[in-house]
Symmetry: C2
Subunit: 376 residues, 2 copies
């Protein structure tokens, strides 16, 4: 029971012991069985919770095997939990909504979205869309409801790498219904709206800005644990609009090992600082390449310097992702969800841990997973 | 003499035979000596002309060695030539100047600049700045006066890769004097003006647009054979301003082998078409990589598809440039001028050939080389 105290409910962010979810523990010669009461029967986060429990209880030479059994809370237990959560949460929820940040630029609200994370870089071609889409699928694998907003109107990649085609339509509520990937990630990109994806949108700033706001506000994102926003390169209109209009919870910076990239990425980091956006950390992409023939490690774009760059900018370093020819292939085939990156998986875990610390998560609404339909 | 007819003066674009520059031909058993009268004593284009003459005259089994001797035209000969050129040219020069393209957007004039070439791609990180800077140095090697305008205000790379530091100052004529690289290329970039190159310019479109116009118009570029303009990614404000404000003579499109890149590059090509900018062709960058250890050829970003892309867009294919770790290193060290790329060298020759075909070159002014000071 002591070991289980550290296990947090993947959504509520509280100890499962405190939440009264641990119902039974049986110890039989180093073989432990734990019975957990889930909040809802088909909770998509159940698997993540099971793995967390296993990892917490197992200890070589002490506990050799862990079996996790699940049951479901009764309606009465659920009501009790709901009451307890609502009392515990301070009413600080709507604080961020409707915050004016400048003349004529109103910060939009969060509605049913828990965390909005922007992926920025300043420089183009360093792999923002790759990080965004793989991070989205890592979060989805853990059972979270995830959406991706492609804020790069002039160079939209998200729909293609995630293999989404078709036209979004207007739902019953009047909002635009985003399309879903095979794994269920909600996607909205300007390329889904264009008749021909090779046609450019030759728009000046004011139109770009209003369309970005529409892609966020006029889309019926529904309840989401995470909305990832893929930003275009640069520090002009489009990124500025995202920083000013969207209630961002965090920013992930993507860099590449070139000194040149570092300089331009620094501009982006400094922009985020100026805009008071919390920077979650920096990930270096294309750090090295392993030759498929001889296995030799190549530093194509120079010595990895992500850690140094992160240090000099005073932001956490999230890791170095190697260049892999499979990335280009899977992106071109719209199958990037099949790609696994241990570094990006750890960023997903980092986001989970962070969200758990944010007590005001609870203030917003009841857990999203409670209202989610079983995925199949 | 017949073979020399095809040799064009590298600046005037007319046959050196017609220009009365061939003064003597001596043939001695397959060894030929050609005497050429240069327009000015220290003509920086002399070497290019000498090479052209050698290549035209030499034929294995016929002419084994070619010696090119040079002399200088007398003042009277020069006056005669000048008169002949001015009569031949039709007075169509100022046609392009002051062309209004939209309300409030006036197309700027060309002043002393012969050819303005924009390097575009739509997608970031495919190597626009690399192509721009290497093309500039290839043209400079051939003796031309070259300038580079970095129109990427939010991600300026040009000053760094060309190793230019220092602050531009106001010249006697009131214009800003661009800085020069070691080989003499004139450079103007926003990063040369910023106090700290890691600080972002967080500007919305209208400011971006007016600064791009200033970098062109308020800078004293002087007489140039070529001004290369490095564009930012995207199809929004900055590229739009360059297309609308600058009297472009041509556009070079840079792509990378990813299918994803092709889609976004197509947007850029379609933008150039909509803006009636003549597209000189498409160059594919990072087409393949040779492993430095085992020599294996890798297609990092997928199968090269530049030629197919160019064909589908109806633009000439200029060639495929391999990925080379030396590029990142030299760029980071500001020594990209030392890099040689046969493909980009051939693009430089293509530009020469094109310029030679444009008869209205002559109409603008007298050859720039005539007024250039010897470089050392």
């Amino acid at each position: 029971m002591e070991r289980l105290k550290g296990v947090l409910d993947p959504e509520i962010g509280r100890s499962i012991v405190d939440l009264n979810m641990v119902r039974d523990i049986t110890v039989d010669n180093g073989n432990v069985t734990v019975k957990i009461a889930l909040t809802v029967a088909h909770c998509p986060l159940a698997k993540t919770l099971q793995t967390d429990v296993e990892n917490a209880v197992r200890k070589p030479g002490d506990v050799e095997s862990v079996k996790v059994e699940t049951t479901t809370m009764t309606r009465r237990e659920l009501e009790e939990l709901r009451l307890r959560l609502q009392t515990a949460s301070t009413a600080s929820s709507t604080q961020k909504d409707g915050l004016a940040v400048g003349p004529g630029i109103e910060r939009l609200g969060k509605r049913g979205i828990r965390s909005i994370i922007a992926i920025i870089s300043g420089k183009g071609g360093v792999g923002k869309s790759f990080v965004t889409s793989v991070l989205a699928s890592e979060l989805k694998k853990r059972g979270y409801e995830v959406g991706v907003l492609d804020a790069d109107l002039t160079g939209p990649s998200i729909a293609k790498v995630l293999g989404v085609t078709g036209k979004p339509y207007k739902g019953a509520g009047g909002g635009i219904v985003p399309l879903r990937t095979t794994s269920g990630i909600k996607v909205m990109s300007i390329n889904l709206v264009l008749e021909d994806p090779s046609m450019p949108v030759i728009w000046r700033g004011p139109i770009v800005n209003s369309v970005i706001r529409q892609l966020y506000w006029d889309v019926d994102w529904g309840d989401l644990h995470y909305l990832l926003v893929d930003l275009p390169p640069g520090t002009s209109d489009a990124p500025l609009t995202v920083f000013q209009s969207l209630p961002l919870d965090g920013v992930i910076v993507v860099s590449s090992p070139q000194d040149l990239a570092s300089m331009i990425v620094s501009k982006s980091v400094n922009m985020a600082k100026k805009m008071n956006a919390p920077i979650l950390g920096l990930v270096e992409n294309m750090s090295y390449l392993k030759c498929p023939s001889c296995g030799d490690m190549m530093k194509l774009f120079g010595e990895p310097r992500g850690e140094k760059l992160a240090l000099s900018q005073g932001v956490p370093f999230l890791g170095a992702v190697p260049l892999d020819p499979a990335i280009a292939r899977l992106s071109d085939e719209g199958r990037i969800e099949e790609y696994s990156s241990p570094i990006i998986a750890s960023i997903a875990d980092e986001l989970r841990a962070r969200a758990a610390k944010q007590a005001d998560q609870l203030a917003q609404a009841l857990p999203i997973a409670w209202s989610m339909e079983p995925s199949s």
